[in-house]
Symmetry: C2
């Protein structure tokens, strides 16, 4: 298995020319004689020559590699985003380096380091925090980056994100207009910028409708079905600081959390929207087919990915240097998980 590696040097031997001639021929450099060019191409093809990207990158600084750093590879939310990114990356002849930070700053830092080490020409990242060591490191590094999903506090970064505050406002208001006044917020960990924004939107909606904000009604938990079930169980069992009769509706930071509520409904025997009305966020594929179909706020995920990669490639290939911020709008998708309490006309 000590099989000879196919390099331009090896091709040169076979073709009886110098390796630099081979290099030029392979790049279709017009200085090379048509005949030799063809001969060399033929040999390369026969030997199934594959240029060594490492050597190439080392020498030319061009690796044609883009790093994508997200927080949860498995989440349908993120997968729609990087599906869109991946398609473009492929089409444009790049390769995608992908990694998962799992909402952990240390891991994020490591991921960024690795990608830079690997010679990624650019990075698209869904940052764990609005500002952090890793983000500052990223900005200092001469590597191009586009942030998605969250607005970084430093304005000198290109980014594409949906206005989470507005999303929460829309979702909460929808419930208020359906007559709900005691609305539970199933939020994510408060250290996440999206959770902070979402919370703000929720509060704003309540206030603008003269509803008092009760801190006990805001629950911050990791974004997962299991943890959501734990939360609901603790409310039902009386362990929590609120009881199951203290609210009539639930807003969730993400559809995954909303699915956790569906699971809880199954486990604890309550009904959606009979017992609780429910609004999610993201509009992931499955929500349409849930029982009942979930009312949720749509995030343009494909668009996010598309904008992000186009911005990045533009910066890389055309040396674009001014930073652009693209804010996308959330839109309410009304389905059947919200019941009308009939207080409002």
């Amino acid at each position: 298995m000590k099989s000879q590696r196919i390099t331009i040097k090896y091709i040169a031997e076979r073709a009886n020319v110098s390796f630099s001639t081979v290099a030029k021929a392979l790049h279709n450099d017009p200085v090379i004689n048509e005949k030799t060019r063809e001969k060399i191409h033929k040999i390369a093809k026969e030997l199934n020559y594959r240029p060594n990207v490492l050597a190439k990158g080392l020498r030319s600084r061009k690796t044609k590699t883009i790093g994508i750093i997200l927080n949860d590879l498995q989440s349908p939310f993120y997968s729609e985003i990087y599906k869109a990114i991946g398609d473009i990356i492929n089409k444009r002849g790049y390769t995608m380096l992908l990694s998962d930070s799992s909402y952990d700053e240390e891991l994020e830092m490591k991921n960024i380091s690795t990608m830079i080490s690997q010679g990624a020409e650019g990075i698209i990242i869904s940052p764990v925090a609005r500002d952090s060591v890793s983000i500052r490191a990223l900005i200092e590094d001469p590597i191009k980056a586009v942030f998605i999903d969250n607005r970084p506090s430093n304005p000198n970064i290109s980014c594409v994100y949906v206005d989470h505050k507005e999303a929460a406002r829309i979702a909460t208001e929808h419930l208020i207009l359906a007559g709900h006044r005691n609305i539970l917020l199933l939020n994510g960990p408060l250290r996440l910028p999206s959770s902070q924004d979402f919370r703000e939107g929720y509060v704003e909606a309540l206030i603008s409708h003269d509803i008092e904000v009760d801190e006990k009604m805001i629950k911050n938990n990791p974004i997962s079905i299991e943890r959501t079930c734990d939360q609901m169980r603790s409310i039902f069992s009386g362990e929590d600081n609120i009881g199951k009769a203290d609210f009539t509706a639930i807003v969730c930071l993400s559809d995954v959390i909303a699915i956790g509520v569906y699971e809880s409904a199954l486990q604890m025997g309550f009904n959606i929207p009979g017992t609780y009305s429910l609004v999610g966020y993201d509009n992931i594929l499955a929500t349409k087919y849930l029982n009942p179909p979930l009312t949720t706020v749509h995030q343009p995920k494909e668009q996010t990915g598309l904008y992000a990669i186009n911005l990045l490639l533009d910066e890389i290939e055309n040396g674009h240097n001014e930073h652009r911020q693209i804010i996308l709008n959330p839109v309410l998708i009304s389905r059947s998980s919200v019941g009308n309490l009939g207080r409002n006309p």
Copy 2:
């Protein structure tokens, strides 16, 4: 922005030692004096030194990079698999190169080439076909590979897969035992090995219960919600060679196809399981919460990923050379999308 790149050479200058001393110190080579070692580490840390993986890989042939090639990054089926893979890869200090072949052999070939070019030390691939130019190329190359999701025809390849034939048999038999005899098979494109296997299992189940196999009842379409809706619509409109009354149950090659049937039910106004009983395959997360909850055949996706990456890393790191084939078992998850026709006790 012409910022000085931090290399061992640069650190060497700062530390007043030769660059090879730096290299050794950074590797904690015991021949280096404790004092100088510490000094060098300190400087490296201050300068935020990141080894250039390209140079490293070029010289040492170790890139710590694993390539993952799948057919549909967005599908929850695949994302569970590479989530599992990604976790291990990260934990073991590797990086993941990910790409999507979209069930296209040409793209697959390109993806393999790219990964080899990039110096990936190993590849985990869900192959488009059981045998193909790209697969043969992959075997000839000295790169380690593990196939998942499908059994390749060449036995000299490590692989991890679920027995799709058995899965189809279980699914179909489940319907037969519920009294169904006219069962529509919503299969994938016939060029896909999984479709071929699935078809076999379906046929086997029918035969073993003395039900005649009707080719018209087997539909091969791309695996997507949209194409499934198209198929159902053509049956309902009479354009197809079977009519809507010709069957009472449906088996699907994947849960995504099954979701397409749910969508069709919505669009065309039929009922599950009232009009048609339905069995899916994969047991993706959402199936449990569909309306009605989908009866499906579970594929151990996380296990698939885990086995695959462990096999691969074992081959890479321990030079394991014998190839191993791991076959995983599908298991029926009975929920509420199958109605009993009452013919059997």
